[in-house]
Structures are given as C-alpha cells and as structure tokens.
Symmetry: C2
Subunit: 134 residues, 2 copies
DNA sequence: GCCATATATTCGATTATTCGAATATGCGAA
DNA sequence: TTCGCATATTCGAATAATCGAATATATGGC
C-alpha cells in the first residue's frame, strides 16, 4: 500500500522549505561528513570503522554523526557495544554524485584550458564572466 | 566532437575532491542563494529581477551573486546597464531537486506520524534511532 | 560490583558566515 | 560632463561552525 500525502504550499512555507534545504546543504558542507556518507553507501558501519576508514579521531566522527543524526540523514542502531550507522535516505548520495560530477567536469575544463585563463580573463566589454568586474 | 578527459585520482586528490564538494555544498547552504538558483531555472535574469522576486535588498543579492560567481555556479553577462545572471551548469538544479524532494518526503512522514513521535522516542534498547541516546 | 571497549558529549578557542549600512563603480542619455 | 539607474564592494558587528582535549556514558564479560 502506498500513501500519497498532499502538502499545501503557501509562499511562507516555500521560504521555510528553502531554509530547511539550506540547512540540509549546510549539513553536507563538510569533507568528513561527505566521506562518511559515501562510506555508508553499501550498508551500515560502526563508528570505529568510519573512524579508521577516514583516519579521523573517534570523537570527531561522533560529533559529525551526531549532526547527521540530528538532521535525520543517518540513523544509528545499537548492536551490543557498537552502534552501526546507515543512511536514512539513500537519495542523498544521488545529490552528492551530481555535485561530484559537476566538480570533476569543472576541473577537467579548467585543467584543459589552464593556458587560456590569462587570456580569457582579459575579456572586458560585453563578455561573459564567471568572476570578474561587472 | 566530444572530449574525454581522464583524471588520475590519488588518495590525496580524493580528499581534495571532498573538500571542493563540501565547498560547493556550503555555497548552496543559504536560502537566498537557493532561491536565486531556482529563479534562474528558465533562463538569465538581471539583478533587479532577482531582488524583486526574492524581496531582498539589492546589495544582499549582489553579495550572494558574487559568491555564486566566484564558485562558478552562475555567470553574469552585461547588457547595457544591467547584468543578467544564468546558471553555469543546470545540473545544480538536479541536485537541489533531490534534496528538496527528500525534505518534502521527510516532512510528510513527520507530519503523518506526528502523534507517534512521543512513543517512538521512548524506544531505548536495540531500537533504531535517528537522534536519541546511543 | 569492576574493567575494557565503544561511543557520546561538553568546553573553549579559533575561524568563517551573514547581514545592513554606507559607499563605490559602470553605463547610457542628455 | 553630469545625472540617474543598475550593480558591486567594503566594513563591522553579530552569529555560527569546527576542532582538539578532556570527560562522560553505555555495554558485555567477569
């Protein structure tokens, strides 16, 4: 059985949603947390495994996990002395994959055109700029 | 003609990539910037239009645009007195859509199960928790 | 009860982000 | 040139994020 939930979307709710979405992005805005999420791609892992795989201290990993848990991005389940973490919604990795690929393409472009950069940034009038005087 | 760029990926580069990805997410981690990106979905818009559509002061919009430009998420092109901004890579919206839908689903679940929350959070031993004592 | 292991939390210093206010620049018209 | 509009930038204060260090809690075994 599937449930369909309809949500009334007012303009204020629209802004609340942007706020929540920003909060979600903020939670993704840390290299360690991104690595944790990626490590959880194929299933649950205990803190120790995450700590060893990332090479980061346990306390730091737990701090990041606490944030991810609070924002409901991961969930922890206790098995004896250890707590295994898993993704609440695997779609988070789809979003990460997209940003990752965008970055790789961008790096490839910049790497290829590295020699052109000096020339391109001279374009002054009527040109298209990504970061220049406007 | 299509170019294929192969990138050698060492472990350090892998970490650099996480850092860049985190930086990209950080750039998305602001409600105003998210709204700007969404407004640019159907094409370029001048600053004034963005300022009016969002209801935010022009200086604030320009500040956010400067960040987005610097991170190469948007580009600005001057037409006379105005500067029209557009998305550098439309895939950014795909990523935003995913996080948005994740959030909507999450809200729907929480809204539906609102009455259960008190009960569920009592689960102590061996239970699955998103944010509780572990 | 105690111990060892695994995990969580608190604190404080450092650093980064956001915003409004004020100001500066760029452009076209007269 | 000067004006007026569109956009950009700088500054400073308030707020928030990150990390290491230290400490606290939970669990199972004895």
């Amino acid at each position: 059985m599937r449930k369909l939930v309809t949500v009334m979307m007012t303009h204020e709710r629209e802004h609340d949603l942007y706020r929540l979405q920003a909060e979600l992005c903020q939670t993704l805005a840390d290299p360690t947390r991104l690595e944790i999420l990626r490590l959880l791609e194929h299933g649950a892992l205990p803190v120790k495994a995450l700590s060893e795989a990332t090479g980061q201290r346990q306390a730091k990993i737990s701090q990041h996990l606490a944030l991810l848990r609070q924002r409901q991005i991961v969930r922890g389940e206790r098995f004896g002395a250890e707590v295994r973490y898993s993704l609440t919604d695997p779609r988070i990795l789809d979003a990460c994959r997209i940003t990752r690929e965008m970055l790789l393409d961008q790096l490839a472009r910049q790497g290829t055109l590295a020699g052109m950069v000096a020339t391109t940034s001279e374009t002054v009038r009527g040109g298209v700029n990504t970061d220049a005087d406007l």
